[in-house]
Point group: C2
Chain length 204, copies 2
């Protein structure tokens, strides 16, 4: 942490982590104050401005980070040659594990997708849209569901994503590894199976 640039990036990260921490603590991101964030990051309020114009800009940076995480998640889910059934369960469990490891970030995502500023909402939407289109090309490449054109496929991918994203908050609200959580996961798996069942018979 000798060089200045490193040090700057370090406190920048501290600020972002601080915001996430507060969201994880139960606060709503749009309610989190600049001062709280600064204090929690061990920095004076005015130092905040050296890194972000305001909380929204910090939020947008968090969305970027979220995007990176999603792509990383996708990479680790890829290239698993499995039957559809197992693939769904596997993906969901992988997702759930990933969410548990990054609770704060996903709480942030869930909150801002519907509750943030317009700019924030749009940023997250486009990130999820990007995720959907990656999912689409992935399915294309495995030449699964060849009877669906790309546009429809993307629509369905979006359905999958919203179904999963929606459950996320609910999962986070339940005690980890609890029976209720398991049930919820089971339910989500079932929903995805339904979607794929429909997809195999869809003709564009």
């Amino acid at each position: 942490m000798a060089t200045r640039e490193e040090k700057k990036l370090q406190t920048r990260k501290a600020l972002m982590d601080s915001a996430l921490y507060l969201v994880g603590k139960g606060e709503n991101f749009s309610n989190v104050s600049l001062r709280e964030v600064a204090k929690n990051a061990g920095v004076v309020p005015t130092a905040f401005y050296r890194h972000f114009r305001d909380m929204e800009e910090l939020g947008l940076s968090l969305v970027d980070e979220l995007g990176m995480m999603l792509r990383k998640l996708m990479r680790s889910a890829r290239n698993q040659q499995l039957p559809v059934e197992a693939l769904i369960r596997n993906s969901v469990e992988l997702f759930v594990a990933y969410v548990s490891e990054h609770k704060n970030m996903f709480m942030f995502m869930a909150q801002c997708r519907t509750g943030g500023t317009l700019a924030l909402r749009n940023a997250i939407r486009s990130e999820l849209g990007y995720f959907a289109s990656e999912l689409t090309t992935d399915i294309r490449q495995v030449s699964m569901l060849p009877n669906i054109d790309s546009k429809d496929l993307e629509t369905f991918a979006m359905l999958v994503i919203t179904a999963v994203a929606d459950t996320t908050v609910e999962i986070l609200d339940l005690p980890e590894k609890s029976l209720q959580q398991e049930e919820l996961i089971e339910q989500t798996v079932k929903q995805l199976r339904l979607i794929f069942l429909g997809a195999t018979l869809w003709k564009s």
Copy 2:
């Protein structure tokens, strides 16, 4: 408005409407202050306490109102003897029209479902759950999808609801009757058709 009780209910409603108005204006419900609400309702801040302990309690009352609206919506969608295809489109369009008529309320719902207090989130969840189970018994009564047991059917009903609820914010963000909005609606219809296609072939 002679009697005292009426007058009280009146300003109570004014407070609730005021909160909804502010949400519709773009504010996040969890960011709306007691004072703002009071001022906008044409009442002094301390008068607020005569009706609600705090903003959360007001929020919970709004959820109750939401519940009533959903039930009303459901009633008007019921008893339409139509083929599945037409029924889906019909229901979605009815829902969209209903949302447009009550933008603020649905904005509130979407926000609090993921962004509110834990109590608020749970309240909305149970309201949507109730909606799902009504939808389930409706489908049962028409003896559609007889090969699905009630538990699975409710799971799928929940998928339908989250799919629609999710699109709601996005719809509200777009200019009314715009091309993009129409596209989004078309996309939602397609998603529901996929779900029903899957459901007709599902065996519990």
